[in-house]
Symmetry: C2
Subunit: 373 residues, 2 copies
């Protein structure tokens, strides 16, 4: 195997595939990129067993040579070091060449690296089939769906099922749900076609995929145990999470006694300021609503107390007080992605709803917290 390649094109490909490389793995082969120089393209593969990324760098793209002087072949080469070397070299083109079965040479006009390598045959067999129900999104829509739901998923590996984002369709409306049992984010998405699917996609994977996107279209292919994201020359394969996702529809209240409409940015700033004094990991803030004013306040026995009054708002309901984890409410408000935000309450101890007054596709639900002051 031998190829001379535009450094920045290779760097972009390696950086994408590197997302799948784990720092620890039971299989030493998986610390490597698999490089395969084929007739008209370089195929780069990386995997941590749970997620696999395969990216294609064509020999020519739009009348421009990206790879020249190549000989077919394949090798396994340390992902970490190859990426570092390609990043740090400063010439426009570099050459990669197998010089014997265990050494690969990487060079430009000034520098020469010899990296220990492994034979391509030592790479594990990965399931790289792409069959299943395919759904297409614009990159922009996909990023928005992820930004409005992923933050609410659990990060605790002790309940694997809720570390996933649940995707469900029975018709042409897709439902995305994420919950950590203290809050719920739900997003509806109108598809071009009808689908009948349910899948629990690892949140980490879906977030990494959304970071790769920059315009264009992404195809998501859902099979029984896995999902494949196809974007430009890159395929991201991930297992699905097994088990039954909680019935989150039961978390959504339907009749509300107290409804507040308020400027999102001003409300967030006020909550951030009053929570300055709160030292615990769970920052609790109290919201007091009357016809005349909205007051956010907090208290810490050790440090002191803080309160802030907000003047511009619309409130429907009796005087009402509720306390909550301020980070949950701030994240829910941000996910509404609108200038004003609507908070709808049932009672002091009931789940409440955060929505946009103009976009019904996204619903955020938050659990209140009891306080004793």
């Amino acid at each position: 195997m031998k190829l001379t390649v535009e450094r920045l094109e290779l760097l972009k490909t390696l950086t994408t595939v590197y997302i799948a490389i784990g720092s620890k793995t039971p299989s030493p082969a998986l610390l490597n990129f698999k490089l395969e120089m084929e007739a008209d393209r370089l195929v780069v593969t990386g995997s941590n067993n749970e997620m696999t990324i395969q990216s294609i760098l064509p020999v020519r793209r739009e009348e421009r040579d990206i790879i020249i002087n190549y000989e077919l072949g394949a090798t396994l080469i340390s992902a970490r070091y190859l990426l570092e070397i390609v990043r740090k070299l400063d010439s426009k083109i570099i050459t990669i060449e197998i010089i014997d079965t265990t050494i690969v040479k990487i060079r430009d006009d000034k520098s020469e690296f010899k990296l220990n390598s492994m034979r391509a045959e030592e790479y594990p067999d990965l399931d790289l089939d792409v069959q299943g129900e395919a759904i297409e999104f614009s990159a922009e829509d996909f990023k928005r769906i992820v930004a409005q739901t992923a933050f609410a998923a659990s990060t605790k590996e002790s309940s694997p099922i809720i570390t996933a984002i649940n995707v469900k369709a029975d018709g042409d409306m897709l439902d995305f749900s994420a919950t950590d049992r203290f809050r719920l984010a739900k997003k509806k998405y109108q598809c071009a076609e009808s689908h009948r699917i349910e899948a629990n996609i690892p949140t980490k994977t879906i977030v990494e995929v959304s970071k790769l996107l920059d315009g264009g279209v992404i195809r998501v292919v859902i099979a029984e145990n896995k999902v494949v994201f196809i974007y430009e020359g890159t395929k991201v394969f991930s297992r699905l999470i097994g088990g039954e996702f909680p019935n989150t529809n039961r978390m959504i209240p339907s009749t509300f006694a107290n409804v507040l409409k308020i400027n999102a940015a001003k409300f967030i700033e006020a909550m951030q300021r009053v929570s300055l004094l709160v030292t615990e990991t769970e920052s609790i803030v109290k919201l007091t609503l009357t016809e005349d004013e909205v007051v956010v306040s907090s208290r810490s026995e050790q440090v002191g107390s803080a309160e802030e009054h907000i003047e511009l708002f619309e409130y429907n309901g009796n005087p009402f007080t509720i306390s909550f984890n301020v980070n949950y409410v701030i994240e829910a408000i941000k996910a509404a992605m609108s200038e004003d935000v609507v908070l709808s309450f049932v009672g002091e101890t009931s789940l409440f709803k955060v929505t946009s007054p103009t976009d019904e596709s996204v619903i955020q639900i938050v659990t209140p917290v009891r306080t004793y002051y």
Copy 2:
């Protein structure tokens, strides 16, 4: 005590004094700022016992009112929370007021914080005398002296004396030295007047002081056990480190067999690239010098090898090879602060010198490392 003050002026003062506040302290009073509203100024003091910073905010400066509506008095108030509150409020002026002996109110037109406070009398007595031998530096000179020496000081608290920068004068030439026993940084500085001093100043303190400077003049007052830095409205007091500083002049070789002059930036880049493969904490690079070429190389059993050739250089001497900790050499070259740099060698196992070809005031000495490849 009561004062209404320009928020950004107070923020600057508090940020400066906060440098002296430790996160852990045996005395709870030292987690506080001491605020003293005097007839024409606010005095803010912070200390961690080893370093004390006192900063003055005048009531008026250059015909402009900075503090208005004030009543004299003093209090101790949580440094961390007061700083955070003053940073996060967004109005131009704020009011601070003692409302009883244990509560201080901080407010602007929207927000109100009540912080638990302590009486000013509970603050420890600090030695804030400013007497001793005074030396004046331009801020620029002072920053340059620190940048050329401080990095070479030891960070290991097990040998306190070499965590200091040694300052010595017997005449009008000041000598600054820093060493961690594996390298030495030495800087000479021509004073306006004659001095007779020797002091071991904690490197951490001198680095923090240099970060405060932005034009103007700094006065350094050295007494028997302490040093005071005086800059604009701020005084930084620090203990000196006791004990005898090593005789570093013995580390400086005088006759050299091999002398290399080379472009500093190109040499550093080459060393950084070849050390990419080195996984150990001490990154060892080998330098091979002949009349025709300069080669930097490295080798790691596990990963592979790297080498780079540099073409533009001047070399005087026989073919020669030496290995060293690449970080030490890169830091020494950077401290020379010149386009080209001169490396002077005695032999493979001897200390070597890194200097600027145009500035004799700064000398860097580095220990080589034995390698077996």
